[in-house]
């Protein structure tokens, strides 16, 4: 039996979450003596694919075919089932990302596998597979056990370590028998490239209604720039159109787990915290000392953002220099 990891890429590069998924698989592999097979769909060069071997993927199955650009979850499920049979796999690892969430549940039904989603830590037990997952928007965790003889797992980005375990590179070019273009027809793509992907960013700077207007975001962008951070905002900020919906984090927006989250002028409503409670370190800057955000923060500054943020940028520039 083997473990299959579904990897994801963007702009010709593997996503960091794919390496996390490989490391997650390696942890199970070492405890169950199963080989790890990485699956890549997309136009990636061998150099880029080889990176997967650095983290322990003994084999890389690459589907590099323009017909497989549709992202049709039904077709991808059939593809994964075909590779599963070929590789004799019983464990399947995805990222808990848009793509992973679209395919993993379908695959679980198709293979009659137990599904555990929203995973935040390594297994508590390997036989039967028992894993902790996040629930109630980060207000609780839940242990779940696989009863079926196959398992499909989705791992939260930024919540499991990436560990180097180099093995020889073994890339297999694979032409699936199933068709890649399913019933969904992509008519238009509108992507902002080059920007740091919020769900993968190790540092995120976020602004709330306390900043009063979208015109005041210059200092937030500048703070983001010195830190090489992704940018986020609270819901009212995107609802007001001050910032793009892409940046909205929280229960109804993106769920993120960066190493460092800096909240500026965000009061810390439970629905906001639901999206950022996975952050390892939370810094809050708010002028109201009673703001609930300070209950969740590791470091806090009580003060006017319009004075504190420019000062913090200066301190960081000094530190970086």
């Amino acid at each position: 039996m083997s473990i299959i990891v579904f990897t994801e890429n963007r702009g010709g590069k593997l996503k960091k979450s794919s390496f996390e998924a490989i490391s997650y698989a390696m942890n199970i592999a070492e405890n169950t003596s199963k080989p790890v097979v990485a699956v890549s769909v997309g136009e990636l060069g061998d150099d880029e694919l080889s990176a997967l071997a650095k983290y322990g993927a003994a084999k890389i199955v690459s589907v590099n075919d323009p017909a497989w650009k549709s992202n049709d979850s039904q077709a991808y499920t059939k593809l994964m089932a075909e590779i599963a049979e070929k590789e004799n796999a019983d464990t399947f690892i995805f990222s808990h990302s848009n793509e992973g969430k679209a395919i993993a549940p379908r695959l679980a039904v198709k293979l009659k596998a137990g599904l555990i989603t929203n995973i935040t830590g390594v297994p508590a037990n390997f036989s039967p597979l028992t894993i902790k997952r996040k629930t109630y928007n980060g207000s609780a965790f839940q242990l779940m056990k696989i009863k079926a003889d196959k398992a499909v797992l989705t791992i939260n980005p930024n919540s499991c370590d990436v560990v180097e375990k180099p093995v020889d590179v073994n890339i297999e070019k694979f032409s699936p028998s199933v068709a890649g273009d399913g019933a969904t027809k992509v008519e238009n793509v509108d992507v902002v490239t080059g920007k740091i992907l919020l769900t993968e960013a190790p540092i995120v700077v976020s602004g709330g209604r306390g900043l009063k207007s979208g015109d005041n975001w210059g200092m937030i962008e500048q703070l983001g720039e010195v830190l090489g951070a992704g940018l986020a905002c609270s819901r009212p900020v995107s609802d007001e159109g001050w910032r793009s919906h892409e940046e909205h984090v929280g229960q109804t927006g993106k769920i993120i787990a960066p190493d460092l989250y800096i909240a500026v002028g965000i009061s810390g409503a439970i629905q906001h915290i639901g999206g950022v409670s996975g952050a390892k370190v939370l810094v809050a800057i708010d002028k109201d000392k009673e703001a609930p955000i300070f209950k969740y923060a590791d470091y806090g500054i009580i003060g006017d953002a319009f004075e504190v943020v420019p000062r913090l940028i200066e301190s960081l520039q000094k530190f970086k220099a």
């Binding site: 679980a108 779940m144 696989i146 793509v189 992507v191 629905q271």
Partner: protein
């Protein structure tokens, strides 16, 4: 054409999360139960589409897998404007079970467009909609933030990394929706509440399904250490803490 909207019955999003003594079940005393926020937005959009379809969409139904105590939530959906409801009389134990039950309702009643939310706001599973589509062997589109129906043709927008994709799709399919699908949920009006009383809720018994996963216990996150306050005049101190203590920069 008929639309079916999946309806989760969940604790209000501000509920204080506590568990019973053995950490096996949510302590439900005093909990307010509501329509899962994404399902409420999905229902709102489904009704708008029906109203603007010039009769192409005949009906919007809702479906819930739950015991009789979920009926107030179902009635609220009827009051918002759903035409009728289906309830499968069983505990919504896990996503696989729920999806299998809803699949029966779809098959027996020929729904062609099915809406599900991106996750339930309590369990955060993100699985029912996609599982349902696989049970039915039909396409599913996830992370959908816009649903348009010009000239009886479906056009969806879905979120991809750092942007959006516009997608055309033929029925039948499952759409798994999130933020943006509609902005504010519809609020039931008095007339809607009166009418909801007489709208049918079709109750049926569950089909047997294998158990593929099992829940053990819940855990609460570790208590957070006290927030360390830094003097607003001394941002150098914060940089120092982030570098030397937290080691994140």
């Amino acid at each position: 054409m008929k639309i079916l909207v999946c309806l989760g019955n969940v604790p209000d999003t501000t509920t204080k999360i506590r568990f019973d003594g053995e950490m096996k079940n949510l302590a439900t005393e005093g909990v307010q139960w509501v329509i899962n926020p994404w399902d409420e937005l999905a229902l709102t959009r489904a009704l708008e589409i029906k109203e603007g379809s010039g009769g192409k969409i005949e009906k919007v139904s809702v479906v819930n897998v739950g015991k009789a105590d979920a009926e107030p939530t179902i009635r609220k959906a009827l009051a918002i404007g759903a035409d009728d409801a289906y309830r499968i009389d069983a505990d919504p134990s896990d996503a696989y079970f729920i999806a299998a039950q809803i699949a029966e309702v779809v098959k027996n009643n020929n729904f062609e467009i099915i809406f599900a939310g991106k996750e339930s706001s309590d369990f955060n599973g993100s699985a029912v909609g996609s599982m349902l589509a696989e049970f039915l062997d039909i396409p599913s589109v996830s992370a959908v933030s816009a649903f348009d129906f010009p000239d009886g043709k479906v056009v969806l927008k879905r979120d991809i990394d750092g942007g959006k994709e516009t997608i055309g799709i033929d029925t039948p399919f499952v759409t798994i929706v999130q933020k943006g699908i509609s902005i504010n949920p519809r609020i039931p009006a008095m007339r809607g509440i009166m009418m909801a009383r007489t709208k049918p809720i079709n109750v049926s018994q569950p089909v047997a399904v294998d158990t593929l996963v099992e829940y053990e216990t819940f855990e609460l996150p570790e208590a957070k250490a006290e927030c360390k306050m830094v003097d607003p005049e001394n941002t150098d101190a914060l940089v120092d803490l982030l570098h030397n203590e937290a080691k994140v920069i």
